[in-house]
Symmetry: D2
Subunit: 425 residues, 4 copies
């Protein structure tokens, strides 16, 4: 048993932290003000501020680029990994690094480690043809374009993915996409050039073989970003979450990733690490909120005492310390299991953190908001946006309730016959 991260993990995490503190944090203030100004003037708030590109170049030059790329992909794209040796990091190694990125809203984008690009790149790396890699993976790895993932639908309970109504119908050597998707992260940004779309190809096939994943260029006729959505009042520029309609979008059948009917298989592999990455970042976000809370608690005075010395405030801070520490260990352990026994063997662990970590982050951030008083509710501090981000993750990539169901199913499995009986009733 050894809880120390590897030397290169420590090194990269500390460099990422320094970069975030000295480069990203001040830029974020400028960029937030710029978005506010654009909105006030009725201008398009979505194009990324030039600082993003500037910082991306700087990060890349320092080898802080594509660090999400997992160990195991040592092929032709290995040289694009941030790690010097050209070998990917294990999930356990990536965890402390992603945590540092999570302290900032724009850092993941700046290090080319933001969702959903990371998941999309992994899918292309793993399932893409050479042509698909050349056309889409290359520019994504370079950060020249961004991408979206078109899965959730407004019209049905998407917690049950088999509810999906969008279609990817094969018509000769074409596949025709129709449907409406939302919470498609990234579509606000004009750099977002491509999406991975999921839809029903063969309604008569078995439950998990009906759907296909299709690469859809966003400039293709029939693809329309209908509107951008807010989450608890936040739009998360320059990424954002949108609603997209697809009307008779005809694409070559070769745009189907890995062939028709394999969407569930791909989605499972894609979502596992994605969920873990979200949790890693939330640890950083919660830690940042706790730091802000500590600063506020020791600097503001009421009734003649610093807030830290009033009522239950110290206990609240201590509880947050406990909650974050437990959650971080939980995330590290899930990452380590993913590394050592793979996705299937760590399904419970991934679902466990998916439930526990966003909730923990919500609680810690909410406590920090309360300690900040009205300021905490405003956008003068990053707490309201942090709350929006954490709260969204109790729904994104599967709501808590679905993951609790997965955990229970695995837990009850050994209670053999009885469980058998239970699952059929």
């Amino acid at each position: 048993m050894d809880f120390s991260p590897s030397a290169r993990s420590v090194d990269l995490a500390s460099r990422v932290r320094a970069f975030v503190d000295t480069e990203v944090a001040p830029a974020e203030v400028v960029m937030a003000a710029d978005v506010a100004d654009r909105r006030a003037r009725g201008e398009d708030p979505w194009p990324a501020h030039p600082l993003i590109k500037e910082l991306q170049d700087k990060a890349r030059a320092q080898g802080l680029w594509n660090l999400f790329l997992p160990a195991g992909h040592e092929g032709p794209y290995a040289e694009r990994f941030g790690t010097d040796g050209g070998t990917g990091l294990t999930n356990a190694e990536y965890a402390p690094i992603a945590e540092e990125m999570g302290r900032s809203f724009s850092a993941p984008l700046i290090f080319n480690c933001n969702a959903p690009d990371t998941g999309n790149m992994e899918v292309l790396l793993k399932y893409g043809t050479d042509e698909q890699k050349a056309e889409w993976l290359e520019p994504l790895l370079d950060g020249r374009i961004r991408s979206a993932f078109l899965m959730t639908e407004p019209g049905v309970a998407s917690s049950d993915a088999t509810n999906m109504e969008a279609t990817a119908t094969i018509d000769g050597d074409e596949v025709v996409l129709n449907g409406r998707k939302w919470w498609s992260t990234g579509v606000g940004n004009p750099d977002c050039k491509v999406g991975i779309f999921m839809g029903v190809t063969d309604p008569g096939a078995s439950r998990h073989s009906r759907h296909s994943m299709v690469i859809v260029p966003f400039d293709h006729p029939g693809v329309k970003v209908e509107r951008m959505l807010s989450a608890l009042g936040h739009h998360d520029e320059p990424i954002g979450h949108g609603e997209v309609s697809l009307t008779d979008v005809r694409l070559p059948v070769t745009n189907i990733i890995a062939g028709p009917g394999r969407a569930f298989e791909i989605a499972q592999g894609r979502l596992g690490p994605g969920r873990v990455h979200h949790c890693m970042r939330l640890i950083g976000l919660a830690e940042r909120a706790l730091e802000l809370a500590c600063e506020r608690a020791t600097s503001r005075v009421a009734f003649g005492k610093p807030l830290a010395n009033l009522g239950g405030n110290r206990e609240r801070l201590a509880e947050a310390r406990i909650a974050i520490n437990q959650a971080r260990l939980h995330v590290h352990h899930a990452a380590w299991k993913l590394d050592t026994v793979g996705s299937l063997g760590s399904m419970s662990e991934v679902s466990e953190i998916k439930v526990a970590v966003p909730r923990m982050a919500c609680n810690v951030i909410d406590m920090a908001i309360q300690l900040h008083g009205g300021a905490g509710m405003s956008d003068d501090f990053p707490l309201a946006a942090a709350y929006s981000a954490a709260r969204s993750l109790r729904l994104a990539d599967g709501p808590d309730e679905v993951h609790l169901g997965v955990i229970a199913k695995i837990l009850l499995h050994p209670y053999a016959e009885a469980a058998e009986k239970a699952s059929h009733s």
Copy 2:
């Protein structure tokens, strides 16, 4: 013991409910879209939509106007009360009516029952001179103008009102205001013509006699709305919460309400019913959220079942039912105590509901959000805005922690000597 509201309370509540359902609800959709459009075009989102005035006229014509005005004020302004007999409602009678208004964000404004106008009108009614009443109370009672309350400050922990740094210095027959206030509700609206400002007049006086309340016309030189604030991403147009600077604002000393040094006394009387009104409305808001949750739970299907029949969802709905019912009784009881034993005798009860009700509302609304999935986070449903409103009330008019302190102080008081000892250490 009789839990039935009075006949006129039942009658008014049902009429308000019908008005909200048939008139306000559809207007809200239109007005929200209009605000969004104005924002998108970079236009001023703050002027109230003409529908507001239209609905106000209609509500007034139906006698659904100024219903907040409490029993006891049967003077020259009595004829302006919505109640036919020209006598105010008790707090207990008003509770079910305010609950109905709370189901909508704009209803309180439409019935001329919205904060902070109600509190300001009560202050003017109780402490104002005839001149002040003629100049400010009259148009407020008519809904011709709106008003703000300038108390909370950005630079200090305003949970401790004695921290206040703004000044109301007497200089001959003038009072000079300086300072910066925020979370001044209402200042976004161009109809907001006047504020009640609280500042230090005599720093050498005893702790609760230093401050004065001053009537400040918003068109007076030196008064500036610096910016509008968002709360969890919501701006609450057309009311809004702003930051206001006051720089050498010179006013006649007669603008001080009830004379110098009486601000704490006035504030206490003003905030009591204000807090209860907020809680009454939150009951309605939580009830609305629960209705939405029930609708969603019975209409959306996942894994072959309506959401209501999945996992713990029914239990969550039942817990919300319990929580709202307890909170409503708590609010009604506090209102009844306010009616029967006055502010002083119901201090614990008012603080109790101020802690319990916003928290309950947050929990119920959050549950409803979760049941709505991503839609609940967006502004397609009123849930995200409702969460912002309920969460804000864990801070506005005193944070939970301050009210818990009040409750504990009253609770421990009879534990005589020991409590004595406790309070001094």
Copy 3:
């Protein structure tokens, strides 16, 4: 809306309180020591201490007797009611009185208001024949004997009463009882002479018409108290909860109450007020725990301060104040609904308090235990026993989960078609 209890309710409650404080409280100390001594000596701890009888006589002489008997039963037994006019109290009137009794473990017994005797007496009063009344109701009303209710079974999930396996088979003019029951409250006491047994009579009848209730004298052959159970380590002498076997217990068919197959009907009527009574008493128990907590918090000193002034302790006390007050109002309201619209119309309310009040009591008592340190865990204070009592009531008379189901069912009912659909899936 009027939250004041009636004059006779106030009068009786204050007299009960005085009696509990001056008579019962000191006796309880003596009786608890006596039980401990008997146990240490290996003697039978179950026979009631003579002080019980003595105090019962005193209480009865003061008219504090059978106060549970509800308004409406003004027949030949009316003169036995404690109320002077010989008319029963409404549930709303009884609530503050039962709360006072609930502050003590033995008070309900001393005032002849303890479960399950009260429920059994109500059943006999409502459904009993004149013979049954003469034989069993008379001595119960006089407190000469005690009784038990034999419903829950060890072998099946009794939360679903239709699971019941015990039988009450009709054989000519006899009914033959077989089965095993537990958590039969009262059977420890040698004064417990009779039980009301519930068992299956006609397995082929419709779901709620299969069972009968049968009066079973405890000295009848085949009835055996197998053992007494502890609940979280407490035996609750001199009442106690036991496991009872019934083996070929042959009784005249006339011992079936109200005729075969009517057990569910009787049980529903019996359990409603019983649940409300439990909740009324728990309010008193929680209030007592809060008083102890306040005393401890203001009298014990650590780190130079009374416990009340350390960390979050004041907030905990304030939260308990809030929780008890909400729960009390909830109970009073449920009692009032029971009085005004009857059992059927108040099903949700009764289930709501059945879930909320024991949980609240557990939380408040647990907080009081924590403030007492190790002493709170021991039997030096009544807190450990109080916790056991409150915790048991999250299971007795239906576990929380079943009541949440009832509440949800009623809540979702108006969501018509969709709910319909929901309930069938």
Copy 4:
């Protein structure tokens, strides 16, 4: 980062588990029945059942003995360690083993790893003279005698150890002990021959140098076990917790461990690992409760479904899975920090688990009780006793509130000047 325990840890844990399952579990049933019988007959329930000695011999023969002894003590006592090589286990290695022991109430005693003997042995090992070791450590290591720790006092808030009133006054070459202690674990057992007593020696010394630790043989005149205490109704035979009076107990001054005034220093070193051990065992206890809950949930049927498929039960089981897993990782991490940076560097971590783990265990056990219905409240299942054990540990070795204070102090420390200011106000 590597979450796997060492090979010898895995080996020992699996052997301990097998021993507990096959040897201890059946013996526990016999011993519990025997204690109940003795109590019923008025016989002394405290002498350990002969099975204890028998199983101890068997465990020892298998090398499952004194496994708690930490790495670092490789002196003359090393051969007594259970580990083959005669080197102690690290805390991280011991954690999975202690977890297995924690699944049973008597296992720690059988493996000679129970509190407070372990802590006492560590103190003697570290601070004892050769004479003290020969007289007390040797027989403790052999399991021939047992010991107690006399620290907590009934008369004062012992959460603040400086409140202590018992005295250890030096009078020439003697030390004279006076005072009253309680929650002295182990004193019920006749094999308990010695205690370590803590009392004030020099009231004028600095706050943490006033107290001494003194070895006190229990057969010495003036030492009296006044009574045994129950914790939530449980006595925990054959160990138990007692109240002990010490009246003019005169002992040679050489009985003072490490010399006068060093009690706090010794206590701190003693309590750190002790707290971690408690937490390790609670993980096992919670895991056992979850197993019982899963068994019950899949075997009991209500409303036509296994309990697991009713309402929120699956979610509750999943939440327990999450909570235990987080807590286990937290404990392992704290153990690892204790191993790698020592007591001082892991103060926050130890306090964190001391707060979080007993609370988690209470929640999980309570959930299991609820799923078991009435059976869970009785002693037919080990759940009521488990709840008592877990709940006690929210108080023993420092209440939650004190540990939260420690965590907050460490957390706020870096918030330099402000924290400085905070800590002095």
